[in-house]
Symmetry: C2
Subunit: 334 residues, 2 copies
């Protein structure tokens, strides 16, 4: 590989100058002519800066670690896409961390101490609270996705409240009046916000919501069965439910079939978050689509600013309203 000295030799100038020209150092105003010569030589030799040398010298790796709890989750895939996109644009590369292992602080700070990454994007698990996330982040440059950190800035969130509201409104509009919410754990900020949105929609429509109509189990497939069980055991079970997560909603469909509950005949279902899989369940799942790819981009940009010394506030992606993807899991009622 061509090094700086090779380019310098080829252009007949010094290494220092090449470095400055190639980095577009604003403090150095080289002659247009030498600039050209250097650039040309670099191109001709196919010069590529050595990452290790640069990292060693500048103490910046231009690498960010991405920590997600579960690669298998289609939602995180979309998130990753946004992360990758923005990273490429800003000149970072992405280091993927096995999340289960990485979530403990030791691992995080190790990667940082090794000088492998400049900072982290952190998507917590269902069990993570604002406290635990802050603890995990420690003093590292971290941006938390879909949650917040206790006593610490640096997070990007979707408009979960709007998502909860839009989902409920869709059901109400289709004539449903007894509506349940199969939610994530109460410890999760997203779950609380979705419930708030859900409640506000119900309130605006003059509809009651009994405590039994809301479950707080979790966002994953196996959480669906106990949640559905609990909700349908009410004296007046709902004719429709909002499910806090597509994956959990797939669990709901499967469990409903198992217990002989027809969807959408006896129970309509709408899920928060969209994924390609939702089109292939039976019935195909109606969802509220949130811009997860954009969330990923914003997260990278936020971390970038932070690394550049311009921290900024926690961010909320509420510029575009959540979109309802209408498929077949919601029936009209009365």
């Amino acid at each position: 590989m061509a090094r700086l000295v090779d380019v310098a030799a080829a252009a007949g100038v010094s290494v220092g100058l090449v470095s400055r020209v190639l980095n577009g150092d604003p403090a150095t105003r080289a002659t247009e002519e030498t600039r050209q010569r250097v650039q040309r030589a670099a191109d001709r030799l196919g010069y590529r800066p050595n990452h290790a040398a640069r990292a060693l010298r500048s103490a910046r790796t231009y690498t960010i670690g991405l920590v997600v709890p579960d690669l298998t989750n289609a939602l995180f895939a979309e998130l990753m896409r946004g992360v990758e996109e923005a990273s490429a644009r800003l000149g970072y590369t992405v280091l993927l961390g096995r999340s289960e292992a990485l979530t403990d602080q030791a691992r995080i700070s190790r990667l940082l101490d090794d000088g492998r990454v400049d900072g982290f994007l952190l998507q917590g698990r269902d069990a993570d609270t604002t406290e635990s996330l802050a603890a995990v982040a420690g003093t590292a440059p971290v941006v938390v996705i879909n949650s917040r950190m206790r006593h610490r800035r640096g997070s990007v969130m979707l408009d979960d409240q709007a998502a909860g509201r839009v989902a409920a409104e869709f059901l109400i509009q289709r004539g449903h009046r007894r509506i349940g919410l199969i939610n994530g754990p109460r410890s999760l900020l997203t779950a609380r916000l979705r419930a708030a949105g859900f409640r506000s929609a119900m309130r605006d429509a003059g509809l009651p919501v009994s405590p039994k109509a809301i479950t707080w189990v979790g966002y994953t497939v196996p959480d669906a069965a106990p949640a559905l069980e609990s909700i349908m055991s009410a004296a007046h079970p709902p004719s429709a439910v909002v499910v806090g997560n597509v994956n959990a909603a797939m669990g709901v469909l499967t469990e409903a079939r198992r217990i002989g509950l027809s969807v959408p005949g006896e129970l309509s279902v709408i899920a928060i978050h969209d994924a390609w899989t939702a089109a292939h369940t039976w019935p195909p799942l109606s969802t509220v689509k949130l811009p997860l790819d954009r969330l990923g981009e914003q997260a990278v940009e936020a971390l970038h600013r932070r690394l550049e010394g311009r921290p900024g506030e926690d961010q909320l992606l509420d510029d575009v309203a959540p979109e309802v993807i209408v498929r077949e899991s919601v029936a009209d009622r009365g």
Copy 2:
């Protein structure tokens, strides 16, 4: 962060010695006593080797690039898990490349030239042939997953032939006699092998397989519709099909419903590869499970050997037979 000099100072020895002791250099036989002292000092100071410095000095990054065409694919998620697992075990970290962009050779060699990775794991797309993969790999240390490279060693594959055979055998055993194969493109080695396995099972059972009973469209969801169309338009359409990929099979189920074809009533379906999503289609999809996680591990190990200068042959994971996951998409017949 503590550096080598800090540890040296704390232990009262020289940097060189610390380096050698900590790296377990076999050529240097330090006193047990000094060894202890060094180790203790390192532990106490929480010494971690600086990755950039080490990479610069030794021209090894202990990082491998993983290139997959689609993060969204549940199959690759399982593969990634295996990759991550083995990487951690062997002391590598994984750099995730956005695949669509990374598949061209320019990007690959750039990452390598930058000194960001030591080598690559490459999972091609449906469009990639053994020639194109070899071209993409160029001269870089590469291990290709699920395919081969033309005129070049370095690949790990599942036993696709066995998978095709097992799938067909399962159908035959359930009494089916007219059986189709919805396969990936003929340009793909995996597709050809699966077809070979399929054919051998049919032959062994004394069953005919007309050319029209096999399609060679692709492994993805949108490929399912034209393939199903073609297969069902035969004079004597099959009562069962093997589908080359779970994702395509999900497309088949959805398309079958759209055209009013009952599964498994009129058509039984079994897919090659398993994913959690297969349990949540309707009907739940029977599959042939292949050890994708182990494939990921093997790929890392193969690349590791290659990087250590011990290339080795192309590998085939045929030590354990493909497992049929029985769900509800296959009906007994006669």
